[in-house]
């Protein structure tokens, strides 16, 4: 089984590289194996890694069995019970009939999650341990076991596309053949949720175009893609990315007011946009035109392309000058990059552009987040997709990450709980992308201001 090889890779990547905890359930979903096997995999990994380097991997255990004395199990309840008696009766001594002691002790199975530090102590409290297994592995001792819930929260997402009634075959949950599930209803909700995120990018792209002078921004965006046939694919990622992140870096300062004012509107404008608003349509064509140029550019001859390129460069130069005058707050890197983005490949752009923008980006997530809470369901979904994108970019695969973001936006339905770590990453990653998109972003922002 391939899963037995995969799991080491997965665990190493997640634990050692990313420092995220892994529970057995998450592992079983990730490598698609039975949960009991996943528990053993965790043990194996724990053993091997700690043999290599002691204390490098930390574990929590789930211990099940009977506690040693009944007194102890009652200890927990006893406290509550005594409190209750005190509350209910001011005179506990005058209980007329002493409470009958239960005829026999109630069999109590205790399931206890414990860190490896307290494992031995906890085991001593048990008279009979029926099972014990590793619950999770972490890259270091954790102080708050609550962090494992974040890990568990990823579990449903991992098997989202599977039929929940078939999971038992794969993961070994208990099978209940009598449970019926209505699929049509759920598929509606799924498609609903998938359509929403896709509508969102369109809305995003309209925001800059609607507020900026659309006529100018349109040619500057469409032309480069027409001129550079080789870059068609790059362009594609570029343009859509820029749309997505346009509000990112620049919104921080200039668009803040727009971003705040806008959110209620795009929801309504998003749908009719294609028909009633031609500049908007032009902007949304931006994404569509990526595929069209692919076909059309093959027919365009080099001369035309060169002319177009010159024209575009001239235009951008002009824009850049205006921008330097107007946008003082844009730092040098941001203002010089625009024409570079068009000509040079993005890869080289990534690193230099990322650094200055990081600072801008840092305060950026917050505003968007408030939009989430206030703006209702749609906004919430947009956040989720964004975060997904960010998380996948951990491996520095910028182009790949684009597609991942798309697909996640299709599936992502329930808002993920906030994750502290990914949020930290998001600032850096978002900054990089902002760098890629800078050329167009800054142009648009210029027009926005005007």
């Amino acid at each position: 089984m391939s899963s037995e090889v995969d799991y080491k890779e997965y665990l190493a990547a997640r634990l050692l590289a990313e420092n995220h905890p892994v529970t057995y359930r998450l592992l079983s979903r990730a490598v698609k194996t039975h949960v009991n096997k996943a528990k053993q995999m965790l043990y194996e990994f724990h053993k091997i890694q700690n043999a290599k380097k002691p204390q490098s991997i930390h574990a929590t255990y789930l211990v099940t069995g009977r506690k040693r004395t009944l007194k102890h199990t009652n200890g927990l309840n006893g406290k509550d019970g005594e409190d209750a008696v005190m509350q209910d009766s001011p005179f506990p001594s005058s209980v007329p009939e002493p409470q009958e002691p239960p005829e026999e002790p109630i069999p109590t199975t205790s399931i206890v999650l414990v860190r490896e530090e307290e494992l031995e102590k906890t085991k001593a409290e048990f008279s009979d341990i029926t099972s014990i297994h590793i619950y999770s592995l972490e890259s270091g001792a954790i102080e708050d076991l609550g962090i494992l819930t974040l890990c568990n929260a990823e579990v449903p997402a991992q098997s989202k596309n599977d039929d929940p009634l078939e999971l038992w075959q794969l993961y070994g949950c208990i099978h209940n053949p009598y449970i019926k599930r209505r699929t049509p209803k759920s598929s509606i909700t799924a498609s609903k949720s998938s359509s929403k995120p896709t509508a969102q990018p369109a809305a995003k792209s309209q925001q800059p175009s609607a507020s900026a002078a659309p006529a100018a921004s349109k040619p500057s965006n469409t032309k480069p893609s027409a001129t550079a046939p080789a870059k068609a694919t790059l362009k594609r990622s570029d343009s859509s990315k820029s749309n997505a992140s346009k509000k990112g870096p620049h919104a921080g300062d200039i668009f803040k007011s727009f971003a705040k004012a806008k959110p209620p509107k795009p929801k309504e404008t998003a749908t009719p946009s294609a028909t009633d608003d031609s500049p908007m349509a032009g902007m949304s064509e931006d994404e569509g035109s990526d595929s069209e140029p692919d076909r059309s550019t093959t027919q365009v001859d080099e001369a035309k392309a060169a002319a177009a390129r010159e024209e575009k460069e001239a235009r951008q130069e002009e824009l850049r000058k205006m921008m330097e005058e107007d946008l003082v707050m844009e730092d040098a890197a941001a203002s010089t990059s625009p024409q570079d983005t068009a000509d040079m490949d993005e890869a080289s752009q990534d690193t230099p552009a990322a650094t200055p923008l990081d600072t801008q980006k840092k305060d950026e997530p917050k505003p968007v987040e408030t939009v989430v809470t206030e703006g209702g369901r749609r906004r919430g979904k947009r956040r989720v997709t964004k975060r997904k994108k960010v998380k996948d970019a951990d491996g520095y695969l910028v182009t790949k990450e684009e597609s991942v973001w798309e697909s996640f936006s299709e599936d992502e339905k329930p808002p993920e709980p906030k994750k502290p770590k990914p949020a930290a990453f998001s600032t850096a990653k978002g900054g990089k992308k902002g760098g890629v998109a800078k050329g167009q972003g800054s142009i648009a922002s210029f027009f926005k201001k005007a």
Binding site: T64, G81, D88, P96, S110, E118, T130, S131, N176, Y178
Partner: protein
């Protein structure tokens, strides 16, 4: 090892057999629990590395024999009216229970003599003559100075805030009065033995004499006692199922108290994993397999009642003032958490969920089922009303209180408000005694509508107990307890007080063959302890 894994090719026994043959080094404790839960229990340790054991295939869960009754469902739409007077409820109760109580009292007191005087039955409380030994039947009304009183509330309209909820209505100075009333009038009851053990709303017969000051000196009291109890499987009348000998258990949990924050989630995760049979070793997983229904007895969410508690209200009032409904103040995350929690469990085990006083349901008893809109994911497991009225396997949101048949037993459940309120009337009574008394009085919410809000029933009061259940549980109690009470005709009722999961981590399991009770306690050892 890997090669020997033949998934689902053979019946379970065969897999186990081949496993033994090829892996003689493993000791197999193969044990057949029962006919239905066929599963090899191995002592394979999960604390072991490669080579990995071939995962054993568990047999599927058994079907849950389930028949919910709709006793407590209110009429829908405009048929649900609140213009009626509550007084009618008391008259209905008295009329319906009078004969039963009278019969009981006649059995007990017909031959009763005191000082050569024979006790005789008096039809109306106002017909009681001074100095005459007699017995009457009536509804108890407790006049207690600490009891909330709607007239007080109106007269003190200028209160800044409502008074805090009381732990007890009992006045420590002992000045509370007990009355017995029927449609004719009221009789003040005196007598040491009785005053502290009755609450407003219960119907009883009292034997005694009227004193010179007009009060009724009580010698003895009696009540209706348990009604008739059906035999097991009797309730399945249209197509009676034969009792099958299969091990099955019902899990009852209450007070999940989901807040939407991340504090309490880990025990909930463990509960999910326990119920789905993912956590623990093969032996414990086999135990979890025996569960075939989860009952959630109220308070799944912790702060979602439409009527705010005093603290919540104060907190809200101190914030900005908003007129009308403020959509932005709605926090969906607790409901989403609950939905996610349920939808993870639902593929493996059917769920019956009762609302509780902190859940987003109506406040007045009987609380109506939680609305499906709260459960966008879980409601996929509900059979649409167009196909069937009941979801027998899947997700069933029911009323509080609720009754129905599970595995042939008649079950009556409540999420605790009735017990809690009753305990405020009396001293030194534990929840199980309160529950027992409710059954014996044949009224499962005697204090409604006096101190517990309640729908104004007119023709019939479903809160009167007409059939004796086999199991009666109340959720959201302070601690777990259980007790078996017996009725006059040999009825046996298992009473369970289900603790709050959030505070105790306890889940109650009821063996549906023997009606034995056990507990599962889920906990997390705090780091550094």
């Amino acid at each position: 090892m890997r090669a020997s894994f033949e998934p689902r090719l053979a019946k379970h026994t065969l897999v186990t057999f081949s496993f033994i043959v090829r892996n003689p080094q493993y000791i197999i404790v193969s044990q057949f629990l029962s006919l239905s839960s066929r599963m090899a229990l191995t002592d394979i340790s999960l604390l072991k590395g490669e080579p990995f054991d071939a995962p054993t295939n568990t047999s599927p869960r058994n079907a849950s024999a389930y028949k919910p009754l709709h006793t407590f469902e209110l009429p829908k739409g405009t048929e649900k009216q609140y213009s009626q007077q509550y007084a009618d409820m008391y008259f209905v109760r008295l009329a319906q229970l009078k004969n039963a109580v009278k019969q009981k009292a006649a059995e007990a007191w017909d031959d009763f003599e005191l000082g050569g005087e024979k006790a005789k039955y008096v039809e109306r409380v106002l017909d009681v003559r001074q100095g005459e030994l007699c017995w009457v039947v009536g509804t108890v009304y407790m006049e207690m100075s600490l009891k909330p009183n709607v007239l007080d509330d109106i007269s003190k309209e200028h209160w800044i805030a409502a008074p805090p909820p009381r732990e007890t209505y009992v006045n420590p100075s002992g000045q509370d009065d007990m009355m017995l009333e029927d449609e004719s009038g009221r009789l003040r009851i005196t007598g040491e033995t009785v005053s502290s053990h009755y609450v407003t709303g219960c119907i009883l017969a009292a034997l005694g004499t009227e004193q010179a000051d007009g009060s009724f000196q009580v010698v003895a009291t009696t009540y209706a006692d348990l009604p008739k109890q059906p035999e097991r499987w009797d309730g399945e009348n249209p197509n009676p199922k034969k009792p099958k000998s299969k091990a099955s258990k019902m899990a009852i949990v209450s007070g999940l108290g989901i807040t939407g924050t991340e504090d309490d989630d880990l025990t909930l995760d463990l509960l999910v994993e326990y119920l789905t049979g993912e956590a623990l070793g093969p032996q414990d997983q086999a135990e979890a397999l025996q569960l075939n229904r989860l009952v959630i007895a109220g308070n799944s969410l912790s702060h979602s009642s439409p009527i705010l508690s005093r603290e919540d209200f104060a907190a809200k009032k101190s914030q900005k003032k908003n007129y009308g409904y403020d959509a932005s103040s709605y926090n969906a995350s607790p409901a989403e958490k609950l939905d996610a929690f349920l939808s993870q469990i639902l593929p493996t085990i059917p769920i019956t969920i009762l609302p509780g006083n902190t859940d987003p349901a109506n406040v007045a008893l009987p609380q109506q089922p939680l609305h499906p809109a709260l459960f966008p994911q879980s409601r996929a497991y509900v059979i649409p009303p167009s196909q069937s009225k009941d979801t027998l396997e899947g997700f069933d949101a029911v009323t509080n209180p609720w009754d129905g048949y599970i595995e042939g037993w008649r079950i009556l459940g409540a999420s605790g408000q009735t017990v809690e309120d009753l305990l405020r009337y009396v001293d030194d009574v534990d929840p199980l005694e309160a529950m027992e008394m409710m059954l014996r009085w044949r009224c499962i919410a005697p204090t409604a509508p006096d101190t517990l809000s309640c729908y104004p029933f007119q023709e019939d009061d479903p809160l009167l107990l007409k059939v004796c259940p086999h199991v009666y549980f109340a959720g959201n109690m302070n601690k777990f307890d259980r007790k078996v009470v017996e009725g006059p005709a040999g009825e046996k009722v298992l009473l369970i007080s289900v603790p709050k999961f959030k505070e105790t981590g306890q889940v109650v399991l009821v063996d549906m063959e023997s009606l034995e009770v056990e507990l599962v306690e889920i906990g997390v050892v705090a780091p550094g302890s």
